[in-house]
Every structure is written in C-alpha cells, then in structure tokens.
Amino acid sequence: MPQGYVALVLHAHLPFVRHPEYSHFMEESWLYEGITETYVPLINMMDGLLRDGVDFRLAITVSPPLCAMLTDPLLQDRYVQHISRLIELTEKEIERTRWQADFHELAWHYHHKFHTARNTFCDQYQRNLISAFRKFQDAGKLEVITSAATHGFLPLMRDIPQAVKAQIFVARDHYHECFGRDPRGIWLPECAYFQGIEKVLSEAEIRYFIIDTHGVMFAEPRPRHGVFAPVFTRSGPAVFARDIESSKQVWSAEEGYPGDFEYRDFYRDAGFDLDYEYIRPYIHPDGIRCHTGLKYYRVTGKTNHKEPYRPRIALEKAATHAGNFMFNREKQVQHLAGNMKRPPIILAPYDAELFGHWWYEGPDFLNYFIRKAHYDQKAFSLTTPAEFLERHPTQQIVTPCESSWGNKGYSEVWLEGSNSWVYPHLHVAAERMVDLARNHQHRGEITERALRQAGRELLLAQSSDWAFIMKTGTTVPYAVRRTKDHILRFHRLYEQIKGGNIDENFVSYCEWKDTIFPNLNYHHWA
C-alpha cells in the first residue's frame, strides 16, 4: 500500500490555426512542431510502457482546438509534407556534415527522429493521433481530459453565463465525438477559476478541474490539507491544485532541470544558422528564416558560445534528473503522510509542449520517471485525478479563490492595456449569439448552417491565446487579425440571420475557413 500518490497532468493545447487559403502558413508550424517534438514522443513513450508491461498512470488535456487540428485532413496532409521535407533536409545534412563528426552524428539522430515521427503518424496511427490517446485511455493507463471549447478565458465571460456554458458544453460534445465517452475532468483554460463555474461543470457532469496553488490555499474556509488533497466545491465537482515543489523542479528558470548545460539548446537552429541558399527550401517560402527543428548545440553555459549537442550524455542526464525527481517525491510523500494520516496526492501539472518542444529530453525524463516510479520505489503510486477520487470520495467542501496560473496569479495577463480592447467586442458578440439561439427557431438548412457558423466564429474569437499573444508581444499582428476576422464574420452572419437575407456563399466561405466543431450545437447559447 503506497503512502501517497503522484498525479502528472500534461496540458496539451494549441489555438486553432488552419489556413486553407494559403499553401503555407507560418503559424501552422506550431502544430507540426508539437506533433514531431511532443505528441509523437509521448505516444511512443506510452506505447513502450504498454509493450514493457509498466502499469503507468498519466493524465493529459487534449484541448478541443488541438483535437480538431489533429483530426483535420488538410492539416494531416500538410504535416506529412512538412515532415517529409525535414527528412529530405536531414539527408542533405548527413552529406553536408560528413567532415564534422559531431554534427554528422546529430544529422543522423534527427534523420531517425523524423522518420520515427512519420512512421508513427502515418503508419502506426493512420494520421490520426487522437486514436493513439484514445487507445491508451481505453487501456486504463491514460486519462484524457478536456478544456473549454476554444480555450476561452472564462472569468471575463461570466456576465454572459450562456457564453461560459457554450464553451463547456461544446467541449464536452466534441470530446464525446473524439473519445466515445464524456470527459470526467477539465483543465480550465489558463487554470482561470471564478466562483460559479463549478455549477456549469456540474451540469456537464464534469467531476473535477485543476487550478493553481493559491486557488485552493486561499479557499474559504481554509483547506485542511492544503493542496495535498482535492476539495469539493459546493456544486459537487472536485478541485485539484498544483503542488509548488514538483512544479518548481521542472518549470523554474531558477532551479528547473531543463536548463542543464548538457541539454539541447532551443534557440540555435539550422533554420537560422545555415547558409541561406542551402536552407531556403526548408524555411518559409517567402524566404523568412524560421526554426526547422534541427538544433545542433547544447545549452553549454550562460554565454553565447555553444558546443555540439551530445544526445547520449543528455539522455544520461535525463535519467539522473528523473531519479532526483522521484527521490524528492518519495521524501515529500513520506513527510506529508506522517502529518496527514491519509495518503496525500501531489498533483504536478505542466504544459505538455514543455516536454520535447522546449525541453527536448523532457519525454525521456518522463519515461525514466514513470519506469523508476514503477520499479524502484514503494512510497507512492502514480495515479490520475479520477482514479484518486474513485478511491477517496470523502473530501472537504470549500469555495476556491478566483485565480489563474498567469503572471501574478489572477487575470492580469489577459486583461491589460494591450488586450483589453477585445472584450467589448466579445461581449457584444456573445450577447448577440444568445439572442440568435433564443429567438430564431429552425427556418431551414441555410439558417441552421449560419447559426452554427456564427457559434464557431464567436468561439474562435474567444480563444485566450489571442489576448495572451497581444500581451507577450510575439505574433501580435496575427492575434489581432484573428480576433478581428472572427468577430467581423460573426457580425456579418448575425446581421444576415436577423435580416433574413443569408448569403449562402458567405456561409460556405466561412465554413471552408473555420471548420472547427462541424456538429456544433448552437442551442447551448439559448
């Protein structure tokens, strides 16, 4: 009998980026990089664990937009083209680096990696990685949870309850389509909690959600066991909060593992380093240099000087760090169990894309940790939030504190000078959607299509990613354009539906561009 539990929760999410109107679109590469560097390595890891009979538990959010992109035929085709181009590049790199032994070995390393990615994607899972996640879930090893439909920042929608409800219920419906069952847990977008969301989750039969540490620590009344036991909200859904200690070891720029000097450096990429004419076929068609995924250097140190990456040494380091992580969890569990007189749970949530994309060795770290936890210790068992609640259904009732996992812990990241302009538009659009859902009975197929599309445009505009990008100043023009385009399309559809003069060509055009949630139920806004 273990003294406690550790639950790893990975949050896999990307905004819905799909541009059929262009043959190549830079931001679509977020998905392709995610597939190659994170989702496929995680899937390969889980297949290996199954093959070797390791009884593991892991929870992962596959957000609805990510789910939609992973099952989209256009993006699947484009990914195959993308990875095939990279394989071609590695073939050239194997030749180019023939007189540089370190780089030559790395060129082969990437060649194998990209081949594996293509094989996993194309042959093993027939281009549909959701089927992989579903397989692991059906095997009882992985718990897939959902997020809000388009990762909308829910606290700032609360004045229009139907907008919140639609984000949750559309996500639930979509999850059911993808995984053949209803979701039992949800990752609230940005871990942003507001009082009242639990009621909506309860209606959707979602049994738990995850928030940041202070969301439970500052709960009313004080949680007796801090974040080391879930709590129930008054409406019924349980809340799990992040453990700081385990987060810090992985996340922290001050103390985290991923910055070890032996690990692969993220920024040095062949897309920027190599001769322009040579690399040009593998960067953006307009000639803009970008990341290719071929990165030849290790972190090395704090200066700009970089030494060649050494995968074998990095792998050993990942094993050492996994052992260290396990050791610390053992001590943590033993210490807590002695004080709590019940098995504590340590919930360690991370952005999934940290593993593999940013921290190249992250999937190896996870693999080592899961195997070591299975074979090398007895203090704790790996679990999932649902499994823990099945075993421990008696918990304290509290009202959590409004919070998010953004900078400073509340809403500032998504509500400040750079992005506050979006909310008047989002609120008016949401109110208009409620009006449409309530006041327009079925009047033929074209109206139904227009109503569904209006819902899609509103949901896409509500994605928290746009406000986040505006705040952090990365691809701001794109985020602004996406926000405006979706709202403008929504208003055009609204006016046409209200005026009874729906332009079918326009509806078709929007359906062609914004394909998310083909079976969307607009009655969720009623």
Partner: protein, 457 residues
C-alpha cells in the same frame, strides 16, 4: 579541458582557442605558456558561470544552469527576476509545503515564429469585411476584478451618446462611481472624473476579498447624480489564507452521476444550498444513502481527526507564511509571476542574442555538376541520385583540414567513365573575436557564392 588534451593541439589551434576564451592578446608563442593562459581563462569563465557544481544527493545540480535561463528570459522580455528574489533560495526540506521563493517561469510561450508580415488577403471579397466599430452603444458598464486590488471597467457608448450626456452634465464631466458593496446603496468608495476620450478604466481599490460595483453617469446642473448604467457586482479575489478553519467533509461517490445524486436529495434542499451542502448535511444526520460514506454520527472534529490535523499547523507553518509568499508574488512588479506561465508560444534555455558589434564568417563547399540524366554518378564511393535534367549539387560543411573527393560518372551504356578528383584545404586563423562557424540571420551570402566556394579547390 585538461592540460594533456591541450598539449596535443597545435600552437595555431591553441592561439585560436585562447582568443576564443577571451585572452585578448596571447602574450606568448611558447606552447606551455599558452596552455597556462588557456587553463586560467577556463577557470575564470567557470567561476563566472557559477559552474562549480556542488550537487548533493536529493538536490538537482541545477544552480549553474539557472542563470543562463534567467538571462535568456530577460532577453526575451519575459518577466524579470530581481536579484533579491534570486537570493531567496529554497530552504524547505522535501515534503514541506513550499516556502520557496517563487520560481521564475521557464518559458513564456509554447512556440516561436519569427516576426513576419501578415500575408496579403486572398482575392475573396469576404476577406474584406471592414473594421470593427469603435463601440456598439449598448450602454453596458462592464466591471470586473482583475486581481485583489484592481478592477477593470469599460462602458459601451457611441461617441454621439457620450456627447449627448456631456451636453447635459455639469461641467460636461462624465463620472465612474465605485461603491464598496454589491449595489448602489453601498457607500461610494470613489468617484472618478473621466477623460473625455476614455472608454475604459483600471480602478484601484482598497480591499481584496471584497464586493464592489459601479455606476456610470454624470451630475446634472442641479447636482443630482444621473446614472446612465450600472454594473453587475464584482468580487476582488483574496490574497491570503482564510481565517476560517472550520471544516465540512462530504462523500461524493465518483461512480454516481451528479444528476443521480441530485435526484436522491432534491426533496431535502434548503434555501441557498447546493448539492455538496445537502449531501454533507444528510450524511452528518446519518441519511441512508445507497452508497457508503465515511461517517455516520461523528461530529466534524472527529472526522477531521480521522483525516489528520490541520496540515499547516502540523508542519508548523502558519497562514502568515503562506500568505506572505503569495502576496510577495502579487507585489513584485519585477518578479516572475511565481508559477508557470501558461499558454502558447517562446522563451529560452539558451543564451541571449549577442549585443554590440559582431562578425561571423564561414566557408562551406558546394560541389555541383551535370551529366547525361541516365548516367551513374559515384560520389566519394557512393552512388548519388541525379535530378531529372542530369544535374547534381551537394553542399558540405568545411572545417579546417584537408579533404579528397573523387567523383566518377559512367555512361548509361556502361562503356565510358569520366573521373574527377577534387582536393580541398581549409586553414583558418581568426583574430579579435570573429564568430567561428555558424551563419546568422544577418549573414547574407554573396550572390556569387557558388563560384567562390568552388575556388577553394
């Protein structure tokens, strides 16, 4: 790097290495002296990098690596970490609720794409739907707490509507009135005279964990406050642990749906109660549910004892400590924002992009040629695929050294063979910190690069 390794290198390479390590003018041509200078430079650079590792069991050897990431984050405009925050290192033993200082985030974005112009819209007229309106004139007053001490307000009025109000307002002033309570009967906490062009406002308030609401309006010429719109109430979140330490426990079996549970107890709801409240009250009274629950007649204290004592008391950590930790997070404008950063796109484990003057030079080798499309070409012992027009092109990294490259083409009928033997030597010397091998984005290749590369022969 060890002394024996250095001794194996040539004087030329050692000189280059010394320059690379920042020995600006190697003071000697004697190999042993040069090696001594290099070893000193390596030692200094390790000390500067904090590279002396003192990892012990149970602790990650991370201290040396952290600085590179912190500096990288700073470079990216991600949150900065104050020196003071860095000094407050974790002192908690494994298992203690983290008293550790707030870690800086590892990265701020999930993915990075370079800055690039938005592609032009396609030809479809549906791509040009105009601009968003400045306002809609709905009269909504939105008022929402952003954090414990700031509330965001916007009012949705058209320019004409605002002008109309200003016309009848005393001094032409529009006001935002903030009440410390859930409705406009509550005391006025502050009244803000709005800038005529303002459409939103961030309002600072005094209390966390408190109710506020707002009115948008103006004073008429008789001095009466005219309310144009009222907000919903908002509640500023807490910034500390609750002083309430009472505890209610409830069993909510996971395998029974909320709907079924609701059906079981719907006749017993009292005003204001929610599902967990009713289940708790009935379980405390011993209600016969069709599932096991943890207690029957014991009181809350007994149940609490069954689950252990208050964790914070038992590990001797008061609420003040926890609260201080989180409040520091909120206060520290220059700090990272404690825990993880969320959502999509960018940051760094690597080093910042260098500042100031720089110079990178590299030489690669391009070998290209053509023959009959169906000919067989063997390149350094390996048959290569020709393009459909019979051409081929290879590019090679060319580090210092001497290289031979035999190439042979055999006619499709296997009768004739032509052979080329290429020989290359690269011998580089650098001075004053010239970058060594990698291209950077700013290094534009000369238009005649192919021709120049082949001149290496």
């Amino acid at each position: 790097m060890k002394k024996t390794e250095l001794q194996a290198k040539s004087l030329k390479i050692l000189t280059a290495l010394a320059i690379k390590l920042g020995v600006k003018r190697p003071s000697t041509n004697r190999k042993e002296d040069l090696i001594a200078e290099i070893l000193t430079a390596i030692k200094v650079s390790k000390l500067k990098a904090g590279g002396v590792k003192t990892a012990s069991a149970g602790k990650p050897p991370a201290s040396s690596s952290s600085k590179s990431k912190a500096s990288a984050n700073k470079h990216n405009g991600a949150q900065k970490v104050s020196f003071a925050a860095r000094k407050r290192q974790a002192t908690a033993r494994p298992g203690e609720v983290a008293l550790a200082p707030v870690p800086a985030p590892l990265f701020e974005h999930k993915f990075v794409t370079p800055v690039h112009p938005m592609p032009a819209n396609t030809a479809s007229p549906y791509d040009h739907l105009g601009e968003l309106p400045e306002s809609y004139g709905t009269g909504r007053l939105f008022f929402a707490a952003r954090d414990p001490y700031w509330i965001y307000a916007y009012w949705d009025y058209t320019w004409n509507q605002m002008e109309e109000m200003r016309r009848v307002a005393r001094y032409g002033e529009l006001k935002l009135r903030v009440h410390a309570g859930r409705d406009s009967q509550a005391p006025v906490q502050q009244e803000i005279t709005l800038n005529p062009a303002a459409r939103n406002w961030f309002v600072q308030v005094d209390h966390a964990n408190a109710d506020y609401c707002a009115e948008f309006g103006y004073y008429d010429h008789q001095g009466n406050f005219i309310t144009a719109s009222r907000s919903y109430p908002t509640h500023t979140p807490s910034d500390r642990m609750s002083s309430r330490t009472d505890a209610r426990f409830v069993t909510i079996p996971f395998h029974i749906s909320f709907r079924e549970l609701f059906e079981m107890v719907k006749a017993y709801f009292k005003d204001g109660e929610e599902l967990a409240d009713v289940l708790h009250r009935l379980q405390a009274a011993g209600f016969p549910f069709p599932f096991d629950y943890e207690r029957t007649h014991a009181d809350e204290q007994a149940l609490g004892d069954m689950f252990g004592k208050d964790l914070f008391r038992s590990i001797r950590m008061g609420s003040d400590v926890v609260t201080e930790m989180f409040q520091r997070r909120l206060r520290e404008e220059t700090s990272s924002g404690l825990l993880a950063p969320p959502s999509p796109m960018g940051a760094s484990f690597g080093a910042p992009i260098p500042r100031g003057f720089w110079f990178n030079v590299n030489a690669e080798l391009i070998v290209y040629g053509a023959t009959e499309p169906k000919a067989r070409v063997v390149f350094d012992g390996k048959e290569i695929a020709l393009k459909p027009n019979g051409t081929f092109r290879f590019q090679f990294a060319l580090p210092d050294g001497s290289y031979d490259m035999p190439i042979a083409a055999t006619s499709p009928d296997e009768v004739e063979t032509r052979r080329v033997f290429l020989h290359f030597v690269r011998n580089t010397s650098e001075q004053d910190g010239v970058g060594v091998v990698q291209h950077s984005e700013g290094l534009i290749p000369p238009s005649s690069s192919k021709g120049e590369s082949t001149k290496s022969e």
